[in-house]
Symmetry: C2
């Protein structure tokens, strides 16, 4: 499976662009992205489960209800959430985008990310939408990735190839993350494109299954955002026989999709606000996969564990503590924990008891930038992985002074 750099523009027939329109006050940073397919797409989406949600989610949910979409307009710097006239503005943005592209307003996906509670003005869109419509190209996927960033330090983008019934197809994605990251049946903004032919129904099926092992398994700070949104669009331009049911082609598609989303999920965790390290927690031997998912996510969500990893401290007691307060029915009396990185591995806990190890060796291993915590529950066949990041001085700095 080949990894490509074009992101959402790697699949055939997708164009994109990013521009600075002045939403991020006093900044020349890009703040608006447009992604367009040459032809109508089948589409599926998942959204935040937060009961407080942004106006763009209301509008996108309406527009995508028919399983069709052709373009995505997204701004960063302002979430258009708990802000006056939010829904009207989001609808107007879809109208303007439709006009600029000669599409129906109801075929536009609209998304926003940034500060909650401040009015989002129409002027940046009046300037930005025609500008972006004139700029879009198949080489600007990374500009779009850049334009949706808030406190992200790097753009997130990937694409992979797969075969469906012998026809080469591609899945690509961009995403933003960084803070307020604890997706629940959704994630931060992530836009995924494919040139595979596949029905809206099968897209929804693939997406809802996929996020359980990708976006819903990451956590930066335990705060589930009001604006999480993942949109998956398929334009069929690869020319494969349309995937309209289970089978080998659908499995290939799901596998490629999961490669893309897991890659992006890890990028989001690694680039968590203030993070210096990616933490991966693999749980095996759990009663079932769902329990393993809950346990692995509990471990990477623990503030105490996150700070310990920042301090390169193999404090496995905090791992057992976080396992112990995870919801679910499981035994805790025979748990093994090891911690590893690319310079070595150390078994720190055996049978839920201290296993003698060298603190110096552990500290050396935990000083690397990618840390893996392996947990064996020793009671079943269930397994799962979750990704998080360390909690650092910079997280406090970034969020203590985010708006100024």
């Amino acid at each position: 499976m080949i990894i490509k750099n074009g992101g959402v523009c790697s699949p055939k027939g997708f164009k994109a662009a990013g521009a600075a329109t002045g939403i991020k006050a006093g900044s020349s940073k890009k703040d608006m992205a447009l992604i367009v397919s040459d032809v109508m797409c089948n589409a599926a989406a998942v959204y935040t489960q937060n009961k407080v949600f942004g106006a763009p989610i209301t509008v996108t949910r309406q527009n995508i209800a028919d399983g069709k979409a052709q373009a995505i307009i997204c701004n960063s710097g302002n979430a258009n959430t708990c802000a006056p006239g939010g829904v009207e503005l989001a609808e107007k943005v879809c109208e303007m985008t439709g006009e600029a592209l000669n599409l129906q307003a109801t075929d536009i996906v609209v998304a926003s990310t940034g500060v909650i509670g401040q009015k989002l003005e129409i002027e940046p869109f009046e300037k930005g939408i025609p500008l972006l419509a004139g700029m879009i190209s198949a080489h600007k996927g990374n500009e779009a990735a850049e334009a949706i960033m808030t406190t992200d330090t790097v753009p997130k983008s990937i694409a992979v190839e797969f075969e469906a019934n012998g026809v080469k197809c591609t899945v690509g994605a961009i995403a933003k993350g960084s803070g307020m990251i604890n997706p629940n049946m959704a994630t931060m903004l992530s836009f995924i494109t494919t040139d595979a032919g596949i029905t809206s129904e099968m897209l929804r099926k693939a997406l809802s299954k996929d996020i359980k092992t990708s976006y819903n398994q990451i956590c930066v700070d335990g705060d589930t955002s009001t604006n999480d949104m993942v949109v998956l669009m398929a334009n069929g331009m690869a020319g494969n026989p349309v995937i309209d049911g289970e089978g080998e082609a659908f499995d290939s598609f799901c596998k490629a999709l999961n490669q893309v989303t897991v890659h992006i999920a890890k990028c989001l965790a690694r680039d968590g606000e203030g993070a210096t390290k990616l933490i991966e927690c693999n749980v095996s031997g759990a009663p079932d996969d769902e329990t393993a998912r809950v346990i692995s996510k509990s471990v990477i969500t623990s503030d105490l564990l996150k700070v310990a990893i920042f301090g390169a401290d193999a404090n496995w007691g905090r791992v057992l503590c976080a396992i112990g307060y995870a919801q679910g029915d499981f035994a805790t009396d025979n748990i093994d924990v090891s911690m590893s990185s690319n310079v070595g591995s150390v078994l720190v806990c055996l049978g839920s008891r201290h296993n003698p190890y060298s603190e110096e060796e552990a500290s050396r291993i935990l000083s690397e930038e990618e840390i893996t915590i392996n947990v064996n529950m020793n009671q079943g066949e269930g397994g799962a992985t979750a990704w998080g990041c360390d909690l650092t001085y910079d997280y406090v700095k970034i969020n203590g002074d985010y708006r100024s």
Copy 2:
């Protein structure tokens, strides 16, 4: 109702002491406390709901099953959790305490707090228990409070008087908190004494009701410890008619108990690891009290909100976000939020929308050490309060290097 300073020794017939026995390696800090009643007590306790729990919890649960206890032995510096031979050691400690005090081992409460996963040795107890048994007095409640501290910066202690059937009674308590604080049907270590006469059954009833509005409503870091324990002991030496059912005397007792536990809860939140501010969240207008409790606790648990308060930033969007992901069935379209301290109050959100306010005024208000966030859900009669603290650089510092 009179507030006294004697803590657990304020009620008649209770003695205590604290000493340094060397459990906290390389430190001369007190690490062992003993609390003894002159006569047998009725007793009740609640424990952590973490599925990984310390050996002392196993032993105390056995010893208190008959609703009787007469002394408490507690060490700090080592949690005796996930450590080899933990239960045997805890049982041995009860035996040794019983011998020193001429009591049954099964009438001793044993508790531990500190690092998880390291073997707790018997030697400090061989030295400490006889020492403490010889030192106990009715004037050393505060020494016991000091001896159970880990990263706490101040001892927590209080006592209040109340009347039961015209007889003056007292309830006193000590506690330790600081980190790994997110009690769930229990709390950090808290030992509560009273000279009121009251049956074990009514003690259990009072305690299980009480913690819902006190200890279970605080959060420092979202990590529910493995060693949480609240013990309530009543020796009857005030001479009141024994409280054996509902009624005025029971209500007086519950009210005094709640004064003590809410005071201690606030002390624990204020002294959270690295904290510079106490955050109180009052929720009103919720569908019911339970929903209000969940909402208020969600707000004070949000890392993003905690960091915003550290930065004196009236970022009410984070309050609405934390309300929105709280579990429960409630509307989010008409929420008012104000933030206040002893220098003023500012209404930042009205009807779930931005309410114009001066950022400078808000910053001045939020620069104080006690911050109140008032949330009106505008949909019912339910109300609740929760307490937390800000998340600071020092939290990261303390926990990135806790064991070294």
